[in-house]
Amino acid sequence: MTVETDPSEKFTGYAHPERLVSGDWLEAHLGRPGLVVVESDEDVLLYETGHIPGSVKIDWHTDLNDPVERDYIDGAGFAALVGGKGISRDSTVVIYGDKNNWWAAYALWVFTLFGHDDVRLLDGGRDKWIAEGRPITTDRPAPDAVDYPVVERHDAEIRAFKDDVLAHLGHPLIDVRSPEEYSGERTTAPAYPEEGALRAGHIPSAANVPWAKAAADDGTFKPVAELDAIYRDGAGLAEGEPVIAYCRIGERSSHTWFVLTHLLGFENVRNYDGSWTEWGSAVRVPIVTGSEPGAVPSR
């Protein structure tokens, strides 16, 4: 059972308007059979301080990452996780979170790795919902567990590994980190903890488009004309060419992956989740420092 999409005028210019819902739509549809609302935040305790009534929590680190290997959970793990939250394969899943939906977009991307069909973001995320005075509760829902099929992750289409990036050099790369990380002044986002990359800089030829450029002041996605100006005119992306986006561990670039794939309609966009914490520590991979993209190395 899939819940109807949000017909809001604001979304009609996007390539896949069905991937977004507004606060009005969500408030009107809360409790609708077939709809599961998921909160996914950077702060692991934020959900506990208050969340959208009926919503369940999925944490990017403790739930979606494999606890041992640097990888995502497998098909059985995902089935157990989301089935336990009352999500079935045909559920409409609406994800929202803090920081302009940064982590919500990451969770959405992981749902997509498992081929979950109907997964959407709440435009503006948690902050906007609260700013608009919409309902919040600390009551924890107790959803009945449902059977979710064990579907193996399908990484190839939307996930890039280091070797994929090396083979991709010469095609567009988007580095969504801060200008300071891009130039090599620092290896972590300003005000973020050191996460261990041995070298600083960026992948040769990558364009620097910090992820938050896609968000308006209220945390919603910018209108399509503004997004076109940033990614097509600014970063030179064009239809038909494969694109890889990366950041530090693949979370901020999930946000950009969402924008490129679902709002602008690019068809071959991959997220390199190894990102700078892998590339910046790997042996014998080319790196460029400074604020210019730099040339593609000859091979």
Binding site: D43, V44, L45, L46, E48, A191
Partner: protein, 145 residues
Amino acid sequence: MTESTLPAALAEIRDDFLALEQRERLEMLLEFSNELPELPERYQEHPDLFERVVECQSPVFIFVELDGDTVHLYATAPKEAPTTRGFASILVQGIDGLTVDEVLGIPDDFPNTLGLTQAVSPLRIRGMTALLGRTKRQIRERLTT
């Protein structure tokens, strides 16, 4: 050289965490978060005194006050950052009123002993380690000025 021993108040907090199931540990961290004391009035108008703990993902600021040999730790962090507030609150409540030597003697890996690495993730615990490290550094600076 200060001997590394865990003061009783912090040992009690640690034991309380370890006695709980994983999910209840998060709830206790949230209780700490809600209990982070307000700044005393005399410091509310003085953000300049406070040092930002840049290792934390959310804005958290600390200030150490020495009253003779007694340490007072003050911290502020936004309500939107409950994990960071919880870490700050544990240290504020566990450290307040201790002597300089007792605080400097807190083992640097105390945050890793609370049993939160699974529920919260090691990455996030680093913020608390940084809070403790900066607290000690502020004390050492106060002692030499």
